[in-house]
């Protein structure tokens, strides 16, 4: 099943986000091997060169590194991954908080809503 992409932004940038997410969430484990470009491009139904560009970006961000003949591996630097993850988490919370405030909710109301959601989840 091919991945879905927005139509107005470069695909390589979106690929970076998707793969990054998989790394930060742990779906791609630290130190683990990334699928080959060909396999991943086929799975995502994207151009291999585009994927290559995405991998290069990830490498620049330090999330991925290439070993000459062995292929591409996720960074083992768990601290870095964790800090990046927290960075994005904070941004997500910031964004959520901002949207809720623009709807007119106060902090107390927001916490209540979140708690209700948690309880629904536990059921």
């Amino acid at each position: 099943m091919s991945w879905q992409f927005a139509s107005d932004r470069p695909i390589y940038a979106q690929l970076v986000e998707v793969i990054q997410l998989k790394i930060l969430s742990g779906e791609y484990e630290p130190g683990g091997k990334l699928p080959s470009i060909r396999d991943l491009a086929a799975e995502a139904a994207v151009n291999p060169n585009t994927l290559q560009r995405a991998f290069s970006e990830l490498e620049q961000k330090g999330l991925v590194h290439t070993q000459r003949t062995a292929g591409r591996f996720i960074s083992e630097d768990q601290d870095r991954i964790e800090s990046l993850r927290q960075q994005y988490a904070k941004q997500a919370v910031q964004g959520f908080y901002g949207r809720m405030q623009s709807l007119g909710y106060s902090t107390g109301e927001i916490v209540t809503l979140v708690t209700e959601r948690m309880e629904e989840e536990n059921l």
Partner: protein
Amino acid sequence: MSLLLECRLLTKRYPLRLALNQVNLQLGKGKIVGLLGPNGSGKTTLIKLANGLLTPSGGHVLVNGQEPGVETKKVLAYLPERSYLPEWMTAGQALDYFYDFYENFNMAKAEDMLARLGIDKKDRIKTMSKGTREKVQLILVMSREADLYLLDEPIGGVDPAARDYILNTIINNYRENATVVISTHLIQDIEKVLDEVVFLNRGEISLHMTVDQVREERGMSVDALFREVFKC
């Protein structure tokens, strides 16, 4: 020669219309290029000229720096829009045919793809449905380890599942030294697979960019840009 396909002032004139008007185009290696345009814009004409099936009225078309001839045909794999296999042949015979004439034909790969698509080697082309024939033709072309692939409307009349399979095959077939040109008017399906796009409008090239460039500079998908450029 670093240019796989080059057109220099390529012109094709018919008694009643000008199919290609002094087209200039350069395609490098290792790219998947979309040749996009409405029906009658000259896409098929350009491809046939590169194959030597048409002779130019003016200008040149060069494959690996050479005019179309025996040498270019060795490294060029062509998938036409029409059914071109002799009806009396079986699928197996078609494979043997390609094996006999093309050195770079990968028989094992072809047999594997046939099996994967559930096509029996003993089936005759005559008895196959249109969709199956197209699949056989695609298998024959993609099993060749060519430098330049020219696919004319490969996903046009095919069901969505087959479409995915075709795109998947193209991606899996990708080699750094080869280039695939896909001519189509169904852009949405293939946009993600393309490196570059070439817009052909009434025999002239109106645009040649990478997909990323289009999205970054125009802020829209190639599909959206196409609709804008070719608005009726």
